[in-house]
């Protein structure tokens, strides 16, 4: 992340100077501050909501039952998670929310899943393989029906916006599988990891 961020910010400054857009650059920085606050305010609401709900799941013991129920489905990828661990449920719920395109439930549940995975982590500032796997699956997008794209196509008068469904699903499945494959390749070549 350090490299990516440094690169992007330096490039921006260089281009701003070359293009004489330094005032635009400064303005963009303040806009970024505003946008970050807005996004986080929005997140406070929905993350708190989902944390409240999952707390009910924990207190009623349902989360552990669900974890045992979901375990077979998820354990072939996530091998090092103990039986009945709450992270199994939070990860499964996050992945389901992603599948169904429920973005405003997916992020809070994903944050919850990261926290649950962190309880299994022995070196708190270093990422675990399970976390990487979870993030990689998340970032490769696993939505079944791309509602936003279809909606926009339709609103601009596309004759048949649903044509994108099949290629999107195929692209999503292949790219998710490739992503997991690449992750395992990296794991194999970096011996430090377990």
């Amino acid at each position: 992340m350090n490299t990516v961020w440094l690169l992007v910010v330096c490039l921006s400054i260089v281009f701003a100077v070359i293009n004489g857009k330094i005032d635009g650059f400064t303005k963009a920085m303040f806009e970024a501050g505003k946008a970050a606050v807005e996004v986080c305010l929005y997140l406070v609401g929905i993350v708190s909501l989902w944390l409240g709900l999952t707390k009910i799941l924990e207190d009623s013991g349902l989360i552990y039952k669900l974890s045992n129920f979901f375990r077979p489905a998820i354990s072939f990828l996530f091998k090092n998670i103990p039986e009945g661990h709450p992270s199994i449920t939070s990860m499964t719920l996050n992945l389901l929310a992603n599948l169904f395109g429920l973005g405003n439930a997916a992020t809070p549940l994903g944050i919850k899943a990261m926290e649950d995975l962190q309880t299994l982590n022995t070196e708190k500032n270093t990422i675990t393989f399970e976390m990487m796997l979870f993030i990689v699956i998340n970032t490769s997008s696993i939505q079944i029906v791309p509602f936003t794209a279809i909606g926009l196509l339709a609103s601009y008068g596309s004759r048949n916006p649903n044509v994108i469904v099949l290629p999107t699903i195929i692209a999503t499945v292949i790219s998710s599988a490739t992503a997991v494959g690449i992750l395992y390749l990296f794991k194999k070549f970096s011996r430090k990891d377990r």
């Binding site: 293009n19 709900l53 439930a105 993030i135 936003t148 196509l153 004759r159 290629p167 999107t168």
Partner: protein
């Protein structure tokens, strides 16, 4: 499509009802439980905020400095021998950083080349099959304070690029 959307949206209320109902049946003080869980939310977001800010600063200044337009023209140059609409690369490039910006470019493509054009369909498939990778990374890693990410970022970038290439090839083959 509307029915599917309706059913999917209905999943959340059903889930909430089930959660609260089950808790109540088990004798959990659901209100107290909800409140005690929800109070952790603000702490998590305070922890995430600086990460989100960093990403937003990078994205916004990159756009404002004209660096983004430069890369767009570069892609247009590279794309021409393959007979690919160059706008498609703009969507692919922006999507990992910002959902709002990629939606903006997508609507531009829809307006300029029509909703049934190759460019629009390619862009739509990329929109649907790519994720806002850097935003997800910042939020998820920030939430638990992970600093050493090992090889996660290169893996995500490689995965994103493969996803875009696959989307383009698929649309080329199917249409």
């Amino acid at each position: 499509m509307d029915t599917i959307s309706f059913v999917f949206q209905g999943l959340i209320p059903v889930f909430i009802f089930f959660t609260v109902g089950y808790g109540f049946a088990k004798g959990v003080p659901v209100y107290d439980s909800f409140v005690s869980g929800a109070k952790d939310g603000i702490g998590i977001i305070i922890g995430i905020f600086p990460y989100v800010l960093a990403i937003f600063i990078a994205v916004k200044t990159f756009e404002a400095s004209g660096a983004f337009d430069f890369i767009r023209t570069m892609f247009a140059f590279v794309a021409s021998p393959f007979h690919l609409p160059p706008e498609v690369f703009s969507v692919a490039m922006v999507k990992p950083f910002s959902n709002a910006a990629s939606l903006g470019i997508f609507t531009e493509i829809l307006k300029s080349s029509g909703p049934d054009s190759l460019a629009s369909i390619m862009a739509a498939v990329i929109m649907g099959s790519a994720e806002t990778t850097f935003y997800v990374l910042a939020v998820y890693l920030g939430a638990v304070g992970i600093k050493k990410t090992k090889y996660l970022v290169p893996v995500c970038l490689a995965a994103d690029m493969t996803g875009v290439v696959i989307a383009i090839i698929l649309v080329k083959l199917l249409y």
